[in-house]
Symmetry: C2
Subunit: 325 residues, 2 copies
DNA sequence: TTGTAGGCGTTATCAT
DNA sequence: ATGATAACGCCTACAA
């Protein structure tokens, strides 16, 4: 392999001068040109492990997400990537599969690899958030709020639940069920809370059996919906508090020909192929969330100080119909 | 931060001994125990940049894919991850967005970060494949064959096209269109070739306007289908050569109430919500492909030598109907 | 402005 | 079996 000293030898300068050229420090034009020629001729690029060791941090940032198969997080990843690339950082994507152990594993690696920073949508609480901050690494938490004193970009989840449920009320539905995620997932709980508030403010009853906690995945939406349809008094509408749950609900409603049952979804409907003209859609624009988070991260990496910020990512107004048809 | 010398001091041994304990070399039981105690007490983990610099390679492998939003590649990623974790390697996911520049960027980083290996589904040809091999890094190409002399895991794409088209012929269709990916994408071309062969072997004409090259995405399937439906003699069936194109075709067929038009899809239908009872599905099981590729990669990282292998990943037989309903 | 040289934290070689 | 020490490749005081 070609090393910095090979470049130095070819250019007839010291390795220090090569390093300076590579890092944009002041070097006389003629030497800089000679170095650049040598670099080009040899196709030299610095060894990033050596550079990271010396500089005490790399040019990698980790994006840790709980479910890489959920289009919400892949969109978020696109946003993070766009900003990172602009800043000369590369993103490595880590999938925790909603398992805290895997999350801890990847956060530890981010620390041990001396990555410049981490954007994490937490599968659960983690001591590593504080540890990373303490080791002087940039940390931004997205989507799911945590109690730690770190930068966060989240939605106003109670408000999301409220707005989506209100829209269903305005459509004339009176028995609106809510299918949400696990009790341990704050976004799931908050959105359900918003749903409850909207029903109460409309003077509607909120029976316990209309709120179902399921996995935040397609199968969760499916099983929950089947259970709801089996009730003695089934709902006349269903609010799905995330995109995959929404797909599951929609699948079961279509398969069982319950086209009269209203549907609200917080999130986008990825790849849907059925017509959902009257569906209430509250789109979240995860890409924008990724942009916001990555910008905050880059600012911290560049040395910005100040107290942890908690940014509420705005969303679009409720709309009707399928996004693509 | 806590360093190896802190552990050594606390355990009353040299750093060399600590290193030996950490790396499973022979150390007397009592010293090993003392070291382990110190490691636990300090919560020490080795600095991976230093380790990588010294060992000449890290414990990271890169998975480079052209479209992180395509469920085919996220499934493949799951397979790679499962094997990698088992082998003590961590996967970093890199999205090239079908851009060769981005691909080159990430491959270069993989080289400069001294990553142990790379699994890449190429967006296009790359000199880095050879360069990485030359630098003694493990490389496995997946999904899209390349001319380079490197390990590859691919489908028999001509056969896929043939089998899917045959199934549509057997359903009684006589004018079967094919919507495939860009001319520069070998999988797209080969699957279309299989389609052509199946039609010819059935004695059906293969008019030029029944083959449409589009992007390998949902919008590609949509626009191609609209064009096909506008033909003077529209097709009575459509073969989509990948999953996203299939979604696009299905969307347009549903939206325009062309339920009588037959449909074949090479790949899975992610998140579909409409009923597709008579759809020909040729599922590819990308996760298995990821498992295969990662196992080959791990073997190479462990030092396996021998000529480059080209493995054909088997697929399921054609089936009918939606995967989930 | 440029070169020399030390050190980042780890592993591996060479003694003992 | 263990310890001292020299690398790995780069960056950055410090000196000139």
């Amino acid at each position: 392999m070609t090393r910095i000293k090979d470049v130095a030898a070819l250019a007839g300068v010291s390795t220090a001068t090569v390093s300076r050229v590579l890092n944009g420090m002041t070097v006389s034009p003629d030497l800089a040109a000679a170095v650049q020629r040598a670099v080009d001729e040899l196709g030299y690029t610095p060894d990033r492990t050596a550079r990271s060791l010396r500089r005490r941090h790399s040019e990698l940032i980790a994006l840790v997400v709980p479910d890489i198969e959920n289009p919400f997080f892949t969109s978020l990843a696109r946003g993070v990537e766009d900003v990172a690339r602009e800043a000369g950082l590369s993103v490595v994507l880590c999938n925790t599969d909603e398992e805290v152990d895997a999350q801890e594993h990847y956060l530890r690696i981010a620390a041990d690899e001396n990555m410049a920073g981490v954007v994490v949508a937490p599968a659960g609480p983690s001591p590593w958030l504080a540890r990373l901050a303490q080791r002087d690494r940039a940390v931004v938490v997205v989507d799911r709020p945590v109690p730690d004193d770190v930068d966060q970009v989240v939605f106003d989840n109670v408000d999301l639940g409220r707005r989506a449920a209100r829209a269903l009320v305005e459509q004339g539905h009176r028995r609106i069920a809510c299918v949400t995620g696990p009790r341990a997932t704050p976004t799931a709980v908050d959105r359900a809370q918003g749903w409850r508030e909207a029903l109460e403010e409309a003077g509607l009853p909120v029976p316990d059996d209309l709120l179902v906690h399921a996995s935040f995945r397609v199968d969760g939406g499916e099983s929950a919906t089947r259970r709801l349809l089996d009730l003695a008094e089934p709902p006349d509408a269903v609010l799905a508090t995330n995109n995959l749950v929404g797909v599951g609900v929609l699948r079961v409603l279509s398969a069982t020909h319950h086209r009269e049952v209203g549907l609200g979804i917080i999130g986008d409907l990825p790849f849907v192929t059925s017509r959902v003209d009257s569906t209430v859609l509250l789109q979240l624009r995860p890409r924008e969330m990724g942009l916001t988070a990555a910008r905050m991260l880059v600012a911290r990496i560049r040395g910005e100080s100040g107290p942890a910020r908690r940014v509420v990512q705005p969303t679009r107004p409720v709309r009707l119909g399928s996004p693509a048809l």
